[in-house]
């Protein structure tokens, strides 16, 4: 049974002057799936993901997200829809001058009516940061900052997770935590889009696969066992060789 797509890109183009970074992307993400968005650097993964996150708008076409009511479609720029999304981008989006607790409190208040004390405590414990809750983020090690960023993204229990190259530059502890959280989210029926050029990790978690090649959608389908067995061959089959 196919459910109505949760996020949809319809006829999306992105131009930088005359250069088309994305060409006619039609991509649906069904609810409850974990989509691995693959492609080389410069293929357009980050560009597309930023559009899903409402950080940039398409030059042509539209990005829509289905409303809570069945069949209702709204544009992504509405605040109500953005509340349902959690994002981990290339940077950590954490304020160095605020403490761990203050950072979570600030973002919590952006995403919800209150910043529940217990929830902040819970996430500080989960990420192993409760012993430094009152220390400014600038004092943290790299791994600690990454874990705080993960807490920030998952804090408001988002229905949709957008993760842009999340496993690059994560230390073991943070990578472990993230994998666990993604699996938990999937088990809870959340929808996840992971963009990456690291095939194995993504395919281990994904239910669906999409490949971007030079701005075009080269492949879209479920993640099968054959695919997982020989990811490099599969990938090469759908992307044109470079000169």
């Amino acid at each position: 049974m196919s459910a109505a797509p949760l996020i949809s890109a319809k006829g999306v183009w992105k131009f930088y002057g005359d250069f088309a970074a994305l060409r006619d992307i039609n991509l649906d993400v069904a609810p409850g799936t974990t989509l691995a968005l693959l492609g080389r650097n410069g293929a357009g993964k980050t560009t597309l993901l930023r559009m899903f996150a409402a950080l940039s708008s398409p030059s042509r076409g539209s990005i829509t997200i289905s409303g809570a009511a069945a069949g209702a479609q709204e544009t992504l720029r509405s605040p109500a829809q953005r509340r349902r999304i959690g994002v981990i981008g290339h940077s950590i989006w954490i304020y160095d001058d605020l403490t761990a607790a203050e950072n979570l409190e600030f973002f919590a208040r952006l995403y919800g009516p209150r910043a529940p004390h217990e929830k902040i405590e819970h996430w500080l414990k989960t990420t192993g940061l409760d012993h430094v809750r009152n220390r400014q983020a600038r004092e943290f090690s790299r791994g600690m900052r990454q874990r705080l960023a993960i807490a920030r993204a998952f804090f408001h229990d988002p229905e949709i997770l957008l993760l842009d190259e999340p496993f690059t530059a994560l230390d073991d502890r943070a990578a472990d935590l993230l994998s666990r959280l993604i699996k938990q989210a999937h088990a809870a029926g959340r929808t996840t889009v992971i963009s990456t050029h690291q095939l194995r990790e993504a395919l281990a978690l994904a239910t669906d696969v999409a490949i971007l090649d030079r701005g075009r959608l080269a492949f879209r389908g479920p993640s099968t066992d054959d695919l997982r067995a020989a990811p490099e061959d599969f990938y090469r089959a759908y992307t044109e060789p470079r000169a």
Partner: protein
């Protein structure tokens, strides 16, 4: 999300961050004092002519020191790309802009209220007469400069030579605000009644409204592209 609530969340966050380091306010205050020193050589503080341009001198101090504050406004969001975090959140552009404009205005008012008595001492200017009007002029003038300056701070956040671009872009546009503020301030310093200058008060209020509306309308394009 309620615009008003979002505005105050952003404003409080910015002020809290600034209070932690006090970087910008210290730099701006020091710069203001340096300018006052330089002016004392360029303009004879005891001369009658200087009294006539006192309003202009004071506002020059405010804008040159104030531009440091405005520049920092969105520049501090580039660390760790926090600006993306704000734009991706349910917050729309208007509370982000207004929140930062409010925090900038607070910082600038602090700068102005500290500089004003020092200016009064250095240049023998009586600023306590008509203080209520003076504070109103400070508030209105500062808001107008700040709301445009904050929007342009967002605009130039990724541009090279950002520090030079901001004054070049902001000051020609906000010239009427400056003119009105200078005219009103000079009149107040000279102790004369403010009634004949009411047109300038209307200019201030009009510009504030026009630029705030314009900035609010265009901020989404600036932040999202």
């Amino acid at each position: 999300m309620d615009v008003l609530r979002g505005t105050f969340i952003i404003a409080f966050k910015d002020l809290r961050v600034e209070l932690r380091s006090k970087e910008v306010i210290n730099a701006a205050l020091s710069f203001a004092l340096v300018i006052l020193l330089l002016f004392s050589f360029a303009f004879d503080p005891s001369a009658e002519e200087t009294r006539e341009i006192s309003g202009g001198l004071l506002w020059l101090v405010f804008i040159f020191a104030g531009i440091l504050v405005l520049n920092r406004s969105f520049a501090r969001e580039t660390v760790n790309d926090c600006l993306d975090g704000l734009v991706a959140s349910p917050l729309s552009g208007a509370p982000i802009l207004l929140g930062k404009a409010v925090s900038n205005t607070v910082l600038l008012l602090v700068l102005e209220l500290v500089t004003l008595p020092i200016f009064g001492i250095f240049y023998n200017v009586r600023w306590t007469v008509g203080l209520g009007w003076l504070l109103l002029v400070l508030l209105l003038g500062t808001w107008g400069l700040t709301v445009v300056g904050t929007l342009f701070s967002a605009l130039t956040v990724n541009v090279s030579l950002r520090e030079a671009m901001l004054p070049l872009l902001v000051f020609p546009i906000t010239l009427p605000i400056l003119m009105a503020a200078v005219q009103l301030t000079t009149t107040l310093f000279s102790g004369e009644p403010i009634a004949p200058d009411m047109v300038w008060l209307r200019v201030l209020i009009g510009c504030d409204i026009i630029f705030t509306v314009l900035a609010g309308a265009l901020v989404e394009s600036v932040l999202v592209g």
